[in-house]
Amino acid sequence: MARIYEFQSKKLLKEAGIRIPEGGVACSPEEARSIAERIGKPVVLKIQVWVTGRAGLGGIKFADTPQEAKEKAGYLLGMKVKNFIVEKILVEEKLDIDAEYFAGLVIDDAGKCPVLIFSSAGGTGIEEIARKNPEKISRISIDVGKGLKEYEVRNMIRKTGISGKLLTQLSRILTRLYKTAHTYDARSAEMNPLVLTKDGMVYAADCHFTVDDYAVFRHPELGIDIAREFDRPPTELERIAYQVEEKDYRGTFYFLQMEENISAEEKAIGFNGAGGGGSMMSMDAVLSRGFKLANYCDTSGNPSASKVYRAAKVILSQPNIKGYFASGSGVASQEQFHSARGLVKAFHEEKINIPGVIRLGGNFEEKAVEILEKYLKNIPGKIEGYGRDDSPEFCARRMEELIAENDYTSHAVAHIKEPEIPSELYAFSTVTGKVWIDHHKCLNCLDKGCIKSCSAGILTLEDGKPVLAIGEEEAKKGKCPECLACEVFCRFHAEDAVFIHLPIPGLKEYRDKIRSKD
């Protein structure tokens, strides 16, 4: 659930014709002063961060004059609240409150429909109210196919004892709230409180929207950079990973950093799960052996080898991890050798000196384990591959033993050297990268195994040199699924003539920064 700020939510309400207090967003005390001056009335200043209970945290202040608004803004801006630094505040007219109500929309998984809820007793302690004064709370389940009619809302609100002009005013607001929520694919939408002023007007005094992660793509206007609910701002590495996820829709790659500054003393590991359920079970197994997770990562849903490669590169950008642990459900439907090749490429490039336990149970696990064991023999870190009949608990124990054998050596993050490739080399683009083949080397190669290894069958020989059998455009559009088979084959069985460049924007700079810290 991606969150948007209060001021953004209010803008949506205003566009829908719901009354909101007059105000504006300030990033400096001076701006706060000028907004207060424009309003010409006492104001309230509210920090714009993703936390609840802002008042209790000292994040809401009142000011009678523009000068006072400036002072209070100076106090609020830059303040640290939970994991956030305050960068913006909302300066609004202070309302003359007569009564407070609550309106909210949630998605009910049991009824498979949105539910609109109204409380005539406000929203504070609403669970309590629901228990003690159920007559003050009313709700309606909405059939998305039919939409919501204003009379339905009137009937719902009427049950809480509200009548007259107020009833029609509130009904209009709640109907519009639902429309707005639907339009913007809200996962939840709340107006708390809805304020009735002494002059009989209803305002959305505060409001919160979360947007469905899967629908963020429909709403570029909301400017959501990471479609995910965080209780802190995303880390730099998470932003880098998120871009990878966004650019490559084949399978899932979810990356969450649990700890940013891992010390050399900690028993932390890089975690690469597959599938929510299997990852959770595997996490339970390593956590119960006293490991700490540097990160949580999920590569599943039949990801391309290139995606797993990038995931490994991101995970290996975390200094001081002691091991690499990959494990999913154990009986995955996806073809596991793709993941194996992605890991082989990444571990080779990194020359990792920490051990890895890779549990790739599922389809073609024998082949996957063979790829891992065959090709990762010669790197400094010891890598072991396992399948569906090896439990996560057993694998976690192996991880622990291997780390001990390795004297608790910490992972050192390496610089990324961008390859220098002579421009005259044969090359073609893929969905997210580029394949280079050094045809000079191919002259010495007798069996031309790259052709056979390409399961997509898109390589063919031309004068003894492998070239695309299809158009370049087709390869770029996905006919080359970036399975990495040609590169892995050629590196270990032939002339090391193939290089597949799979850039990860921002990772080089990130690593340079990390390296300069130690």
């Binding site: 659930m1 969150r3 609840t52 609550f102 909210g104 929309l105 949630v106 998605i107 009910d108 998984d109 049991a110 498979k112 429909c113 809820i117 929203g123 609403i126 669970e127 629901a130 709370i137 998305v144 196919g145 039919k146 694919d185 996962r187 939840s188 709340e190 708390n192 919160h208 979360t210 469905d212 899967y214 629908a215 793509f217 429909r218 609910e229 209780d231 899932t252 599938g275 929510g276 359920g277 299997g278 959770m280 079970m281 996490m283 339970d284 956590l287 599943s300 039949n302 154990g330 009986v331 995955a332 439907s333 073809e335 149970g361 599922g362 389809n363 569906r388 439990s391 608990e393 996905g478």
Partner: protein, 303 residues
């Protein structure tokens, strides 16, 4: 019998000409699923593995006779349209494999399905399999694998995690315990057939003697299963595992959510409710085949 699908069911594949659609159609066909046609608008008249491709579900219906099930493999943004199309054509069960389907789209499909007396599995599902009869979706990945991992028998499996659906069923097979139908209900917050609905189908199914359920934190599905048992609508024995014990419970941002869900959703709540209702809640996946063997034995030694 089995639930939702058996060897007689007639199946179409929407998005049959796409990357996933093609590969999974091969799985289904090789397994023995009765795939009578594929649908990709604009590609009508072509063939995929000898299966005729039509421009619409309606056309498939006209040319191949009534269709029981449609399996959908189109990009997430097009899922709603595809599902509504299938239901409007008369299909009564839609299996929605893609993930990342916007929730309001799912709600709209749900409303439409209800109005037409249809149901759907997913989105974000690996699909389902009635061992020895038919596979829908991509569970197993390849036909040989699906045949090796899943065997016919008397245990119904319902899971919210795709990987764990296969894992649990495979471990049951290893222990010599076959399955009636295996359903991955899908990983999203709102899904078509959720655990309780699948339980009710298992309750009606003669072949199913025992049910294994893989639950997870979040949503009210497992609590509703407890409710079914308490109200006498579910009488067959149930073994459950609830994932997510180690996960920290997220901050609840919505007051309204608290009213609708109450304290439901947490690991503790689910375990407590299910245990209270008489479900065998196990702590490790490896306990599932053990417990299942014990219960099957008690039920009369049939496996």
């Amino acid at each position: 019998m089995s639930i939702l699908v058996d060897d007689g069911s007639k199946v179409v594949v929407q998005g049959i000409t796409g990357r996933e659609g093609k590969v999974r159609t091969q799985l289904m066909k090789d397994y023995g699923t009765n795939v009578v046609g594929g649908v990709t608008p604009g590609k009508g008249g072509s063939e995929v593995y000898g299966i005729p491709v039509f421009d619409s579900v309606e056309e498939a219906w006209e040319k191949t006779g009534p269709v029981d099930i449609s399996v959908v493999f189109v990009p997430a943004a097009l899922v709603k349209d595809a599902a509504l199309e299938a239901i409007a054509a008369g299909v009564k069960l839609v299996v929605i494999v893609p993930d990342r389907v916007p929730i309001f789209d799912v709600l709209e499909i749900s409303s439409f399905a209800r109005a037409h007396g249809a149901s759907f599995v997913g989105p974000n599902t690996l699909g389902l399999v009635s061992p020895g009869k038919a596979v829908l979706g991509m569970i197993g990945g390849r036909a040989e694998r699906a045949k090796e991992w899943f065997k016919p028998g008397n245990i119904g499996v319902s899971s919210r995690s795709g990987g764990m659906t296969s894992a649990i069923s495979y471990y049951l097979t290893e222990a010599g315990l076959g399955q009636s139908t295996i359903v991955h209900v899908g990983g999203d917050a709102v899904v078509g057939l959720s655990h309780p609905e699948v339980m009710e189908l298992f309750e009606q199914d003669e072949q199913t003697k025992l049910i294994v359920m893989f639950g997870e934190i979040g949503t009210t599905q497992e609590e509703r299963v407890a409710g079914l048992i308490e109200s006498g609508k579910l009488t067959k024995p149930v073994i459950a595992y609830i994932g997510g014990k180690a996960a920290k419970s997220g901050t609840r941002f919505s007051h309204a959510g608290a009213i609708v869900e109450g304290t439901r959703g947490s690991h503790a709540s689910k375990v407590e409710r299910l245990t209270g209702a008489g479900v065998y809640v196990v702590d490790a996946i490896s306990d599932i085949p053990l417990k299942a063997a014990e219960l099957m034995e008690a039920a009369g030694g049939q496996k």
